[in-house]
């Protein structure tokens, strides 16, 4: 069970109030977690990663365990604490505004 925390706008879009959970088969990576997330919430397709290329959208960041994982390979294993469900995988909207 992988815990995922979404930014406010995406929680609204997916009609969820809080942290969500997804099941991942095999290696727990950014790609496998986001694939599972989009399979469960199809409305999020294109809102975190670009359609087709599956590149992270420019203003979206990925954090976990107090680390910025945004520029890690999408196929790199996520921290063990995320894989074990002890810590959430955080999808963050980059800070903008005044």
């Amino acid at each position: 069970m992988i815990r995922v925390m979404l930014p406010t706008h995406l929680r609204t879009l997916a009609h969820v109030d809080d942290e969500v959970t997804v099941e991942v088969q095999g290696a727990v990576t950014q790609r496998s977690v986001l694939d599972a997330l989009e399979a469960r919430y199809p409305v999020l397709r294109g809102a975190i990663r670009e359609h087709d290329t599956l590149k992270r959208r420019p203003f979206i960041r990925f954090f976990a365990c107090e680390e910025d994982l945004s520029h890690e390979s999408p196929d790199a294993p996520l921290p063990e604490a995320v894989a074990a469900g002890k810590e959430p995988f955080l999808v963050i909207g980059a800070i903008a505004g005044g």
Partner: protein
């Protein structure tokens, strides 16, 4: 009793304003899609309860949602009202992919950037949604970077009509200050194959075969900010309006200049006349009087606020050239608002109602064709678009 429903898109959500035919008392619902930019929302002429909305954000991109109950509830198209076993919306409505197929999309390569270099097309957002006049599930979408898409399944999937970008002048199109957007789509009720569109900054185009082939319709436009002021394309057209009862006559608010054509865009001539400034964004036509048109002059392309600190709608009852200022009920001092291109609309009640929204979050209504005005709401987020549905 008949009524109206005013659909307002703002920088931070959508609002639905409803009234009976008197248009004196209003119910306000919203914000819908709170926190998202809503560039446009529009109802289907074939089914007034079907409303489409374009919501977008710099963070999370484009989403299309729709309502089938007049704006009470919304869904991301694709799964109808069906939810997943966990109770989540199933829709996937945000996929706009340019046609790059060998057959039709291969020649569609680059457009001009601000600095004159060539850039590839990159999808940014949907600026305008134009539902079909006859089918609630068919909608046209004008997008940035400029292209036109169509859905025939109620917004679930979208396909580009590539003949527009492919007709040959694409490399000369360039973005205006707001981006290279296709912001205006007008369907001709007398000819199902005829569609008009406008792009900042490329100009106006027309198809007569349902979107397969397009031609520029900019003869008569003059723009000093392009190397050849009379060029076939490159003009920053801000908006076009048409009275559906007289489809061949169009009115245009260009970057500068208010223009008119009487031959479906083949030739344009200027009708700015006695306007205090002919820069502006929005323009519309009275529902019952095809020669009565409305604009909101803006001071200049460098100063995007109304002229002389006065919010004035200008009305011409002669199809242009002779204009009168409409000020009754509008602020006439210390006012520095803007009114954007898609932020004015008219209803079709017996006494035509006129509506517009401002950068200050006001939505003004006139139930007497512009003679008097009153705010429906005063303190919304900055208004991006206003559309009106006249209900039976």
């Amino acid at each position: 009793m008949s009524g109206v429903r005013v659909l307002v898109g703002t920088h931070k959500g959508a609002f639905v304003l409803s009234s009976d035919g008197k248009r004196e008392k209003w119910d306000v619902s919203g914000p819908h899609f709170s926190g998202w930019e809503v560039f446009h929302m529009k109802g289907s002429p074939a089914d007034p309860n079907r409303i489409y909305v374009s919501q977008s954000s710099s963070w999370s991109g484009q989403v299309i949602q729709r309502s089938s109950d007049g704006g009470k509830t919304w869904e991301a198209p694709g799964g109808g009202v069906t939810m997943s076993p966990q109770g989540f919306p199933m829709g996937e409505s945000n996929k706009f992919v340019y046609d790059t197929s060998e057959e039709t999309g291969k020649p569609l390569t680059t457009h001009q950037f601000y600095d004159g270099t060539q850039k590839p097309w990159v999808f940014k957002r949907v600026w305008h949604l134009e539902p079909s006049l006859t089918d609630p599930d068919t909608v046209y979408a004008g997008v940035e970077d400029a292209a036109i898409f169509r859905t025939t399944d109620g917004g679930h999937s979208w396909q580009e009509l590539p003949g527009l970008r492919g007709h040959g002048t694409g490399p000369q199109w360039q973005p205006g200050a707001g981006g290279m957007c296709l912001h205006t789509i007008i369907l001709d009720p007398s000819d199902p194959g005829r569609i008009y569109i406008a792009i900042s900054a490329a100009g106006a185009f027309r198809t007569d075969d349902g979107g397969k082939t397009w031609k520029p319709i900019n003869r008569g436009l003059k723009s000093q900010y392009i190397p050849d002021p009379n060029a076939e394309v490159g003009h920053c057209v801000h908006h076009i309006a048409m009275n559906p009862k007289r489809p061949g006559v169009l009115f245009m608010q260009k970057h500068w200049d208010v223009m008119r054509t009487d031959d479906a865009g083949d030739n344009w001539h200027e009708v700015s006349g006695n306007l205090p400034t002919d820069f502006g964004f929005t323009i519309d036509v009275h529902a019952h009087e095809p020669e009565t048109i409305y604009v909101v002059p803006i001071k200049s392309d460098a100063e995007h606020f109304v002229h002389e600190g006065k919010l004035r709608v200008y009305r011409s009852r002669t199809g242009g050239n002779e204009w009168e200022a409409l000020t009754n009920g509008l602020p006439q001092s210390n006012c520095y608002l803007n009114v954007l291109r898609d932020a004015m609309a008219v209803d079709s009640l017996d006494k035509c109602g006129v509506y517009f929204g401002t950068s200050g979050g006001q939505v003004y209504a006139s139930a007497d064709a512009g003679d008097t005005w009153a705010p429906i709401v005063r303190d919304l987020p900055p208004v991006l678009s206003v559309e009106v549905q006249t209900l039976p």
